[in-house]
Amino acid sequence: MTEVASPTRHLIEVMGTVVTIDLFGPHDSSAAHAAIGRARDVLVDVDRVFSTYKPTSPVSRLRRGEVTLGETPPQVADVLDLCQRAKTLSVGWFDPWSLPGGVDPTGYVKGWAAQLALDELRGLDVTGAIVNAAGDIASFGGPETGKVFRTGIVRPDDAQRLAAVVELRACLATSGEAERGAHLYNPFTHEFSSAVASASVTGPDLGVCDALATALSVGGHDVMVLIDTIEGYEAMTLDATGTMRATPDFPFVHD
């Protein structure tokens, strides 16, 4: 076994961004290489099936009505089922069916895919691992045995400064307008708008975190009250006036 120093960072260019995978603790590099390869395959396959930027992807063809759901790969129906659950959980604030141009599960897929990639790493002899898909983060373990990962949430107006540091026990997704302009769609007003500048959600499932962060961005306070009632999930927002709000158990690091 060839042991490598910790942490190691692996970069996978996929889904229009770079997904980083960090492995912590001394580990067997050949086993890690194989697992990273499987994680990469998962991400590439998700992009192939779900990309709304590839006109020939099954989801693009489904959106155009060229194929039925039954004619797409089975994971499309699986994800749409998960999206329906997230829609119900968010009382309609997360609604892939409301988007102009046909059903678009993109708001769920990136987090879901990062979590699938992480699952390929669980058998490794590491103290922890982080998959970060452009700010949607799935993890297990910690930087060392007995230690918890810490994640910085950048300020939406100044990425050089952190608005908060949180303990990352499983997953964290952040949604906001800062990076891409108005792209969040309000399913109730049918307008592109958002209630807050940045919305973060932590919890055990990154697909759900991703969907709830999108809902929180659009719905603001109403959705935060809702998330406060969902076991295992916590939320934090920053609005344009600089006010930070959070559910009481949001895992801030205070030091």
């Binding site: 708001g107 990136k110 994640t151 608005a163």
Partner: protein
């Protein structure tokens, strides 16, 4: 056991300038719902770990060193040819990004990053790409520094993660032994 009321935790000063970001039309990430007609290819820009490539001057549209299909790049903290102490800088290799080719230059003092800048960038003179470059690359540089300044392992939020920037940055950091 869930509880009530939402607490206002604090106020981050100076957020008013957030609106300056909102005016940008930059849309590169996959998850944007509308408006993007192209995307990065599903390939990885593979830069051999032993590369000593120096790049052509910006503006010539120089091709990146290598482009391999769908491979993973691994950056391990291995040997380095640059001193790992004192003030020094290193430039990562030229890599593809959304609109062209760029490289990232990192300056460090000891293990602490003190500056992240573009070593070079060639975007073909496209006005839209220039606009995006002007707004995105400082964010990316600042994220790198924010991550370094705290004892944290990852960053979330406003993460305009440009593939090329991250790729070149990782290799520049590796050269510096960070």
């Amino acid at each position: 056991m869930k509880r009530s009321p939402i607490v206002a935790v604090g106020t981050v000063v100076g957020l008013a300038s957030v609106l300056s970001f909102h005016s940008s039309p930059a849309k590169i990430s996959l998850s944007s719902a509308t408006g993007v007609t192209t995307t990065l290819p599903t390939t990885t820009t593979s830069v051999p770990a032993t590369t000593t490539t120096t790049h052509n001057s910006a503006g010539t549209g120089a091709a990146p060193t290598t482009v391999a299909p769908t491979t993973t790049t691994t950056v391990a903290p291995t040997t380095t040819t640059v001193p790992t102490s004192g003030v020094r800088s290193a430039t990562g290799p030229l890599v593809n990004y959304y609109f062209g080719v760029l490289s990232v230059k990192v300056t460090a003092n000891g293990k602490k990053i003190t500056a992240v800048t573009l070593g070079s960038i060639s975007d073909g003179g496209n006005p839209r790409s220039q606009q995006i470059d002007q707004y995105a690359t400082p964010i990316l540089a600042q994220e790198a520094m924010a991550a370094q300044s705290s004892n944290i392992q990852s960053i979330s939020g406003a993460s305009y993660t440009s593939a090329g920037f991250q790729m070149s940055l990782q290799y520049a950091l590796k050269k510096l032994g960070i």
